[in-house]
């Protein structure tokens, strides 16, 4: 990897900085790896969480409210459900970002949709979590 512009020109600031400090924020987009990593991490986490959720619901002996409440109330299920919702909504938000950026071309509409989607998914996640906690602790 070539050294940065600053170093080649003998700039004092470049000379005193570590290579990583010079590399960080370089390039036209300045950032992006966090988004990439977040997508990968949430994807990996959602594989066991998604399988757990689908199988748990499928294995539920009946659809009675009492059975469902008991299932949600079990601390293991409460934890996994909260994680599934939180991680799932974060992953969904990242995915919707990409879809909106791809198909909405008017800059102002795109901005409104992207910001709106993040807020709505956050609202959705917190609402789901509130419902889960109410069932788990409310009795």
């Amino acid at each position: 990897m070539t050294m940065s512009h600053a170093r080649q020109q003998g700039d004092l600031k470049g000379f005193l900085r570590a290579p990583l400090a010079i590399a960080r924020g370089y390039g036209s987009a300045k950032t992006g790896t966090e988004h990439w990593w977040a997508q990968r991490m949430t994807s990996i986490a959602l594989v066991p969480l998604g399988v757990w959720f689908a199988l748990s619901v499928a294995l539920m002996p009946s659809a009675d409210l009492a059975v469902v409440k008991a299932w949600i109330g079990n601390p293991c299920n409460t934890a996994l459900l909260l994680l599934f919702i939180g991680v799932g909504c974060h992953h969904a938000s990242a995915g919707l970002d990409i879809i909106m950026e791809d198909y909405i071309h008017c800059e102002s509409a795109k901005l409104i949709c992207v910001i709106g989607q993040r807020m709505l998914l956050l609202l959705l996640a917190v609402t789901c979590m509130a419902a889960v906690l109410k069932v788990a602790f409310g009795g």
Partner: protein, 129 residues
């Protein structure tokens, strides 16, 4: 800024012949979108469970109808398809099977895995209750 939206765009769906890998990729996006609607449904179900028997009966009734079951089946398939294709994407991130043959074979295997998981889950649903 208003002019940006008026620029001509390259045609895509109107000119490209639909081929396998393209359909797989498109389905990944569509199932992703479908899963978001499923999360909305999940939110409604959880809120109804927290609210009480009356509200819960409404949601369960809708989910138990033929249309509701169809939606749930579609959601299950979306989940497993998007998951399997996601794993395929992550394998590509690691550089595995990135040649044309690998991508096509991977696509077939992935779709088969997704279908199998969907059918297995619904077999469990039918067997349990």
């Amino acid at each position: 800024m208003a002019q940006v939206g008026k620029r001509p765009l390259s045609p895509h769906l109107s000119v490209y012949r639909l081929y396998f890998t393209m359909v797989m990729s498109g389905l990944h996006r569509i199932t992703g979108l479908g899963l978001v609607f499923g999360v909305l449904l999940l939110a409604w179900w959880l809120l109804a469970a927290a609210a009480g028997p009356d509200h819960f009966a409404v949601v369960q009734g809708l989910l138990g109808s033929w249309f509701g079951k169809l939606c749930l089946f579609g959601w299950t398939f979306s989940l497993f398809y998007h998951m399997s294709n996601g794993v395929r994407h992550m394998l590509w991130d690691m550089g595995v099977a990135m040649d044309i043959e690998g991508i096509k074979t991977g696509g077939v295997v992935m779709a088969a895995v997704a279908g199998t998981l969907t059918i297995a889950t619904w077999a469990i649903v039918i067997a349990v209750g």
